[in-house]
């Protein structure tokens, strides 16, 4: 079983090398990347089942025992993240392939797309299975470097401008992360998470606080937590639709995963609860207020993305077992729904020629299927029963009520308001783009629409109006997956609860890495 663990990183990397070598034959490239991601889906499904039954799978790379060597650990949380991200990556890849077929590789140098995409996947998986902080840093850097290339794909003016902001912000957070690792090593003499879990609580309180804060700030930039979220709505929407979908779904969640992992395992009794809660509230409310002012669907979705990160931070701040379980469920829900909605936005852009609400109309008649897809996705994100968005929020609020206290109730109110405002923003977008008759678009005069802010980088109407069936099929399949998270909410929530037990009791994790006791 342990042989499967390194494969989740090795297969995408080998695939990247192969696709690079096959640069001139796009059909083989597609085959290699689809096959490698399918393999990862299968492997992570097996890993999830095995880890759920037998406890964490641990690999000491090169048989160098921890804490001297690199250790890879897959516990329930990692396995859940692995399978969800592998499924999303595969779905988006199929969408991108569909788009590439229609475009006949016109817009982007596709020979670069597949290798970069696979490196991104490898980095993502590496960050999830890393058993030490430094390996997690390497995983982050792999996926970030790949994301720099994907974001600036084609090198148009708008993408370069957006890319520069994104790259510099990411670099600063990476340097902060690395400095934090150096200080942690200086304070404890190790970077292995399992050993740190024992040594950090022995440090003086103020040293712990500084280390916790440094890691928190570094990860918050990646997770787009307010006030470190300013870069996201300006950079994500300019990328090609499939790239934006992957970034929105997965890149911010790696940050959330890292916050969850480090704050619970390394700093179990820190004093950051109250600041985290305030930050969570601000992230939710300010994010969604930003979304209300947007006329561009992709920018609107980017702001809802920032806003909903607040729910996860809220869950981490509460920190009880129920709250962690709710957070894990919510992370899974949010990865799936945000990716699907961005793919829908990609479809809208292809069919309607734009994503600006000022110029869209009559889409219901043009594409009833996309209308239904976007509608269900919007209801799900807005938290309408019976969808998973509702279930996740209820579980989160329930955990908050169990703890009680004034601040928790303020956050509850903020969360409920954010949920309603999300629904409002998305329903408005749906009304304007799909419900409004096409002939009304010209000379449409409304104070509301005039008050909205359009995309400053808007490049006008896209002329390609064709979509391949593969694009629609990929989006529809992803939506079915998100709905199945609702249908199988019982088993999924039980799994999340078991993962939360592991997190609350780090001894499982530590014993798995050091079977003979910590050195």
């Amino acid at each position: 079983m342990n042989i499967l663990v390194p494969l989740v990183v090795a297969i995408p990397l080998l695939g990247a090398a192969l696709t690079l070598a096959l640069g001139r034959r796009s059909r083989y490239q597609v085959m290699v990347s689809v096959l490698s991601l399918t393999a990862i889906v299968v492997i992570s499904a097996i890993l999830l089942v095995l880890v759920d039954q037998n406890g964490p799978a641990v690999v000491h790379v090169g048989d160098w025992q921890a804490p001297w060597g690199i250790v890879l650990v897959v516990d329930r949380l990692s396995a859940i993240m692995l399978i969800v991200s592998a499924l999303m990556l595969l779905g988006v890849l199929l969408f991108a392939v569909g788009q590439g077929i229609v475009d006949s590789n016109r817009e982007t140098p596709v020979s670069i797309f597949h290798p970069t995409y696979l490196v991104l996947a490898a980095g993502l998986f590496n960050a999830f299975i890393a058993g030490d902080l430094f390996n997690m840093y390497v995983g982050f850097e792999m996926l970030l470097s790949a994301s720099y290339v994907l974001l600036t794909l084609g090198g148009t003016g708008a993408r370069i401008r957006a890319g520069v902001t994104y790259i510099i912000v990411s670099l600063v957070s990476s340097i902060l992360f690395l400095s934090a690792i150096a200080l942690i090593y200086g304070a404890t003499g190790t970077v292995t998470l399992a050993l740190l879990a024992e040594r950090i609580p022995a440090l003086p309180g103020d040293v712990q606080l500084i280390l916790a804060l440094m890691l928190l700030i570094a990860f918050s930039v990646k997770a787009a937590v307010f006030p470190l979220s300013f870069w996201l709505p300006d950079s994500y929407p300019t990328a090609p639709a499939p790239v934006t979908a992957v970034f929105a779904g997965l890149l911010t969640k790696v940050g959330v995963y890292a916050i969850l992992r480090t704050q619970t395992l390394l700093f179990p009794d820190n004093q950051l609860q109250v600041p985290l809660m305030i930050v969570a509230l601000l992230t939710m409310v300010i994010g969604i207020l930003g979304a209300l002012a947007q006329a561009d669907i992709k920018r609107l979705l980017s702001f809802t993305l920032v806003s909903h990160i607040g729910y996860m931070i809220f869950g981490i701040a509460i920190g009880t077992q129920a709250a962690i379980a709710a957070t894990i469920y919510y992370v899974v829900h949010h990865i799936m729904i945000q990716t699907t909605l961005f793919l829908c936005a990609g479809l809208i852009e292809r069919i309607g020629g734009t994503t600006s609400l000022a110029r869209l109309g009559g889409m219901l008649k043009a594409t009833p299927l996309v209308a239904v897809l976007f509608f269900i996705g919007a209801l799900n994100l807005g938290g309408i029963p019976p969808f998973s968005g509702f279930l996740g929020k209820v579980a989160l609020f329930d955990a908050g009520v169990q703890v009680g206290g004034g601040l928790n109730y303020v956050l509850l109110a903020g969360g409920a308001a954010t949920s309603l405002l999300t629904l409002y923003a998305l329903a408005r977008a749906w009304n304007m783009a799909f419900w409004r008759p096409r002939r009304d678009v010209e000379n449409y005069d409304s104070a509301m629409l005039n008050a909205l802010q359009d995309d400053p980088h808007d490049e006008g109407t896209v002329t390609t109006k064709t979509t391949s069936p593969l694009m629609t099929a990929a989006t529809a399949t992803m939506l079915v997956l998100t709905v199945s998270l609702t249908i199988f909410a019982g088993p999924a929530f039980d799994l999340a609860a078991r993962a939360a037990v592991d997190i609350e009791e780090p001894s499982t994790y530590i014993d798995a890495v050091f079977p003979g006791g910590t050195p």
Partner: protein
């Protein structure tokens, strides 16, 4: 843990200077700032290995107290490689944004040959090169006459007068 004061001071200066330069608007300065801060972080990792000592893993030497901690060196090596890759990417990005700032998106559709063909000053370029050849020929003829100093002097100034504006135009067009 003991650390060298010199290293700490150097690291602090590099961090401070790097962060200061990163706040500039120019991308090239941001890159320089990133390099400084990145290397300051490498120094920080290095400082964390503590006091100096003998080389860590050499065949024949047993584990002893004078050995330095090898782990920070490994971390540093990886960090240097990552920084190197990111620097290369940033350089490409800076070049691309410079290119776009000079030409806009139209720049992509022009190759070097097309630039000369389509630009309005192509005739000027063409004519000036014939003039150049004529001037060279004239100076050669003059030198064959044996009166180098008298004839080649004005020729040379004529040539440079004509060439300066055209090369300027061509640079602007590229």
């Amino acid at each position: 843990m003991s650390a060298s004061l010199t290293l700490v001071v150097v690291m602090a200066v590099m961090y401070a200077a790097g962060i200061y330069i990163m706040l500039e608007r120019s991308l090239t300065r941001v890159l320089i700032g990133f390099l400084l801060v990145g290397n300051a972080t490498n120094l920080l990792i290095f400082i964390m290995s503590g006091r100096p000592g003998s080389s860590p893993i050499v065949t024949g030497t047993a584990l002893d107290d004078t050995m330095v901690d090898p782990v920070p060196q490994v971390l540093m090596l990886t960090a240097i490689v990552i920084n190197f890759g990111i620097t290369a990417l940033l350089l490409a990005l800076i070049y691309r944004s410079w290119w776009l700032a000079q030409l806009g998106d139209e720049g992509d559709t022009l190759t070097d040959e097309h630039a000369a063909e389509t630009s309005e000053d192509s005739e000027v370029t063409f004519r000036s090169s014939t003039d150049d050849e004529a001037a060279v020929q004239a100076s050669l003829d003059a030198s064959e006459d044996g009166s180098d100093d008298d004839s080649s002097g004005p020729d040379a100034t004529d040539r440079s007068d004509e060439r300066t504006p055209t090369t300027g135009d061509r640079e602007g067009g590229n």
